[in-house]
Symmetry: C2
Subunit: 375 residues, 2 copies
Amino acid sequence: MDRTNAGAEAGTGRTGLTGAAGVNLPVLRSHNTALVLDLLRTAGAEGISRLELAERTGLTPQAVSKITARLRDEGLATEAGRRASTGGKPPTVLRLVPEAGHAVGLHLDRDELRAVMVDLTGTVVGERRTSLDLGAGAEAVVDAVAEEAGALMVGASGAGSVLGVGIALPGPLDHNRGVLHRVTGFPEWDGFPLRDALARRLGGPVVVDKDTNAAALGLAVSGESGSFAYLHLATGLGAGLVIGGAVHRGARTGAGEFGHQVVQLDGPPCGCGGRGCVEALCLAAVAHGALDEAAHVLGTAAGNLVALLDIDLVLLGGRTITAAPDTFLRGVRTVLTERAERLGEDPVPVRLASGGVAEGAAQLVLARLFSPSRA
Amino acid sequence: MDRTNAGAEAGTGRTGLTGAAGVNLPVLRSHNTALVLDLLRTAGAEGISRLELAERTGLTPQAVSKITARLRDEGLATEAGRRASTGGKPPTVLRLVPEAGHAVGLHLDRDELRAVMVDLTGTVVGERRTSLDLGAGAEAVVDAVAEEAGALMVGASGAGSVLGVGIALPGPLDHNRGVLHRVTGFPEWDGFPLRDALARRLGGPVVVDKDTNAAALGLAVSGESGSFAYLHLATGLGAGLVIGGAVHRGARTGAGEFGHQVVQLDGPPCGCGGRGCVEALCLAAVAHGALDEAAHVLGTAAGNLVALLDIDLVLLGGRTITAAPDTFLRGVRTVLTERAERLGEDPVPVRLASGGVAEGAAQLVLARLFSPSRA
DNA sequence: TCCACTTTCACAACGCTGTTGCCAAAGTGC
DNA sequence: GCACTTTGGCAACAGCGTTGTGAAAGTGGA
């Protein structure tokens, strides 16, 4: 992490301004630059021509030429051959330079820590995995995390260009301040300023987020567009919401509390103190081997979400889902299709999510480069 | 409607671009201008000084001076005296010129049509009300709407400066295209291009939206900030969602389908074909005089919404609510407070909504002036 | 009464942004 | 070959917010 300006206060998220922010020329410049970088990333190894960038951004070709010239100077982009002519001068293809920047992503699960180093395109260039006891106390966990992240940064090829570290872990937390709250099953974490603690240890920007949000961001980057919900069913049930390409976190960054949506008034009690929560109903059904019932309950809650937010897509993930993917896909699809038929609409597609949480955590860091406005 | 460029294609909503849009200088200019106008509107009759505008927007005082000079040239803003000195030159106070522009807002309910003309500050300067049969056929309704809107525009003082007409009506519809869908109880409206039909008749921009969205927008303009949900309980149950100051409509502009959130698996059948919908449960309880139960059900669904989106505020409105406001406030608050206590959070406030739907419909038009990016 | 000081805000010069006009490069197709 | 199309660089330009300077108009102490 060689940025002199990198410190604990980086990655704060929102600006502290009360209202909406004015746009001055530096803001305009960085916005358009990020937009071009994002399109370069999306284009992948194939690349994209200047003229196409101009069409997609709505900027003039000349503006795009200026921006891409800057990016080439900075080493972030490069020319990559030419495409076949369509009757005139063949377009020069531009592409991202993957090794121009890297990010570390960590996934802290209840019993395991997975760390990856990715390049600018999101490709994993280094990986470590170790067992971890989230209940072993803050110091031990911070030590382990710093060790793994440090080892990746030293060992991997792009150690000199690491932009920051992203961390995903279960349970609600304060994304803006990087403070943990109510990590399920580990009350001792409540109030721990994980971001600042790690930023001091690692000496670079650190971003902390809920695991489902990281997973959703990873999915958004790897091709899922528009608005979708990522539903994660494992030891618990949670969601990550992407609305208009941006992760929706809400005012206190607690959005996506999907597991405790009540779908059965006066239903069986849930560990949260409420009654009839989806999580409780789903997990009880799974425990009894009634996977069809679990899928039906999950589908009903997903239907509520689709109706409320009018999203484009539902993605399913988590160990319980991957243990019986077809059952859950079928069950959720059935509920959503019935709903759509009643309304005369096309049903919202339901698919399995692919991609790791650690990779998504790394995207928390890269988001500042490619889409600062929707990070 | 004296804008030469005003036509049926105005008010389309989103740009057709696939991805995010580049920001060029005209976009930057109009964004900052709208931002200043919005702050002037918020300041109201008191006004606001240039320096304060600079602080709030993040722009330099000089940039604000340039922008406000343009606004004064255009007649949208004016100087309004001075404030007391705080040790130096006393600040000159700027305020909006209310009569510089007007908008017509219409609320088409099942049996009534209410039309208002508002000035730039949202103050009602003209009002008409007439009975209406939404089932009388498209032609008759369009005639009635055109008549009322026309009468307001001719009769009111600011007839020459009407920016457009906003229309709110029940049921899901396509806000982007201005086409109706599934107006509850009136299937004959399905697919009717209301916006274009009225734009031709009235010769100016027309914006169409769901009544709950219009009400929510009206509330957002009249002081409610941040993210909130407006829940409307009358002959049906619907919601308008405001996320980050902007009305959330979703991909197919169908978001806010709150009435058919399922909160009772295998509950009693609902008119929508589903089972255990909040609307059915709530209205059944109201019909039996069990208002406490209705409020509890409503509160549970509101709790789901708060958990999922992490919003700041819940606002209640609609005839059924206003018939027994305390009962519903108490019931919803109880559920939300219990939930907050379980999580160790502050409970989300619940309040009664104030403001008419027609006024909110007028804001659909004004939004293009004050906040085009979040219209 | 005078004068130093603060605050507000306008004017002029400036730097940076995207834009326009022009032209060279490099192909296709008749 | 030659006309044509498409791509994209260079230079001049216009428009935006920014910086520097100073006038205007108060306060408050000497």
